[in-house]
């Protein structure tokens, strides 16, 4: 079967650093770009489109384009937090299909660990943020915000801490084989539920790591993909959404994936049961659980049962996920995990994941990013990818 694809992912690169004390952020952007170009077999001068988040140094992508010496005729600085890079893939595909560019570079880089950025303390971004006065005095931080989503999901569906813990357990089983992973020890359900409570009901081991580094992707036109060979991966579908508090009428038990997922599946003409491997954003265990339900891998409210007993472990369960160890164990560069989600999905489709976690005959994969906070305002991006012969 040969499905049509408007564009292909030709190059990927995940920076091996997890603490970049001796590198600047622009330097990290350049290093990941060079890595992805080398992986694709392209050079800097082939790039005519550049995509990055709104967090890069400079105004949009202009300073980074200058630093890296890019000559571009197309740029996109869509900012939806950690989901940005998944959304960028979709936007790059559309730009290429419209003939606006042929080789799109997407980069992410940051160094929160080296800069000693704490995760405690209310996020205060200043300016004319309209919700600011109604939130900052109450001290919302990422852990208690995700904690409220988990608490409500438990209340409505009977989800348990043990079920959430299985998500971390599965990630740790995969991370043990990743030499770059920040946390390589295999953990048990008991380890997770006995780890210190951070913000009820989330324990320390329900939370992702904080890491430096970044990654890059190269998206190319079908013509260029043909010249580069069969390591190129098809982009079969893309969906995105922004979910927010909706004027005070909202439900914390689902995420924007409930919209982005069906859009992506419809475009790819596929259904969840067709997917061989899934990269699911894992800022916290609850993020994975709600997203799996929203994408349709199980019914709403059944996520706890679905993720239990190793169902997410490669070679054991029905839905192998985050075989690099994910954000929970491997890497969450710059507190933004969407980039590494796409990278591991591409590795799986190329057959280049670690042999211990490689899904046999992996043909169709999904990568999903979540950005911002699922208990207030969050972006969602879903891409469905296919092996070169899919």
């Amino acid at each position: 079967m040969s499905r049509t694809s408007k564009a292909y992912i030709a190059g990927i690169y995940e920076h091996p650093t997890r603490k970049a004390v001796d590198k600047t952020i622009p330097q990290l952007h350049a290093e990941v770009a060079i890595g992805a170009l080398k992986d694709a077999g392209l050079t800097k001068d082939d790039i005519d489109g550049y995509f990055c988040d709104g967090d890069v140094p400079g105004l949009g992508g202009m300073s980074m384009a200058e630093y890296m010496g890019l000559n571009i005729t197309y740029t996109d600085t869509t900012e939806t937090g950690g989901s940005s890079y998944v959304v960028h893939v979709g936007h790059a595909v559309e730009a290429i299909a419209a003939g606006k560019c042929n080789v799109a570079l997407i980069t992410l880089a940051g160094r929160p660990r080296a800069e000693g950025l704490a995760t405690l303390g209310a996020r205060d971004r200043g300016g004319e943020l309209p919700e600011r006065g109604f939130e900052i005095p109450y001290a919302p931080v990422v852990t208690n915000m995700y904690g409220m989503a988990a608490m409500r999901h438990m209340y409505e569906y009977g989800t348990t801490s043990e079920q959430l813990a299985w998500i971390k357990v599965a990630a740790s089983h995969h991370a043990q084989y990743n030499e770059h992973a920040l946390l390589r020890d295999v953990v048990t359900v008991e380890d997770v539920v006995n780890s210190p409570m951070i913000s009820d009901p989330l324990h320390r081991l329900d939370c992702c790591v904080i890491s430096d580094g970044g990654g890059a992707l190269i998206v190319v036109s079908p013509e260029i993909a043909k010249s580069l060979g069969d390591r190129c991966v098809k982009v079969l579908g893309h969906g995105e959404a922004v979910k927010h508090l909706n004027g005070g009428r909202f439900d914390l038990t689902y995420t924007g994936a409930a919209k982005s997922g069906p859009i992506a599946f419809a475009e790819a003409k596929l259904k969840p049961a067709d997917i061989d491997y899934a990269s699911i954003y894992d800022s916290f265990t609850i993020t994975v659980l709600e997203t799996i339900e929203d994408l349709g891998f199980c019914e709403k409210g059944q996520g706890g049962k679905f993720v239990s007993d190793g169902n997410l472990i490669s070679g054991v369960g029905k839905l192998p996920f985050n075989t690099d160890g994910g954000g929970l164990c491997n890497n969450h560069p710059s507190n933004r995990g969407g980039m590494t989600k796409v990278i591991e999905a591409v590795r799986q489709l190329r057959g280049e994941a670690h042999p211990k976690v490689q899904v046999p005959d992996c043909t169709l994969a999904l990568a999903h990013g979540t950005g911002g906070q699922i208990s207030s305002r969050a972006g969602a991006g879903t891409v469905i990818l296919g092996r070169n012969d899919a």
Partner: protein, 131 residues
């Protein structure tokens, strides 16, 4: 026994929201409702996010509601209860639950508004469990 309370940061106040904070200073929880579609929205805005009408009006809410969700922030120098409370008026707002043993805080429990002074002496609506 009630847990120790942390210091509250000042709210950001602008011309769209100053009436809300004046009300809080007078012990009132004010909401904005739209005279065109009839719906209350939160946080209060000059323009209704439901129907885009600019015919929006302040009114005093009952100050009563139920806990929609919460999370006890343990890893803080002074632990506190982050919460969303669904008001009887139908909208859900971010707040803290105070004056309550953490073990007593549960989803669905009835709460009522009270006020606390912030660092800069503004009044901040917070909630406590109804007796």
């Amino acid at each position: 026994m009630s847990p120790q309370e942390r210091l509250y940061k000042d709210p950001d106040i602008n011309m769209e929201t100053e009436r809300y904070w004046e009300g809080a200073g007078n012990g009132q929880l004010l909401m904005k409702k739209c005279n065109s579609c009839g719906k209350t929205h939160f946080y209060p805005r000059a323009i209704c996010p439901v129907c885009t009408s600019s015919d929006t009006e302040w009114y005093e809410a009952s100050g009563k509601g139920k806990i929609y969700s919460y999370s006890i922030m343990r890893r803080s120098e002074i632990p506190y209860v982050m919460a969303y409370v669904t008001l009887d008026e139908g909208v859900t707002m971010m707040t803290n639950i105070i004056e309550s043993d953490f073990d007593d805080v549960k989803i669905g429990k009835a709460v009522e508004v009270t006020f606390r002074k912030t660092e800069g002496n503004k009044s901040l609506p917070v909630f406590r469990l109804c007796k």
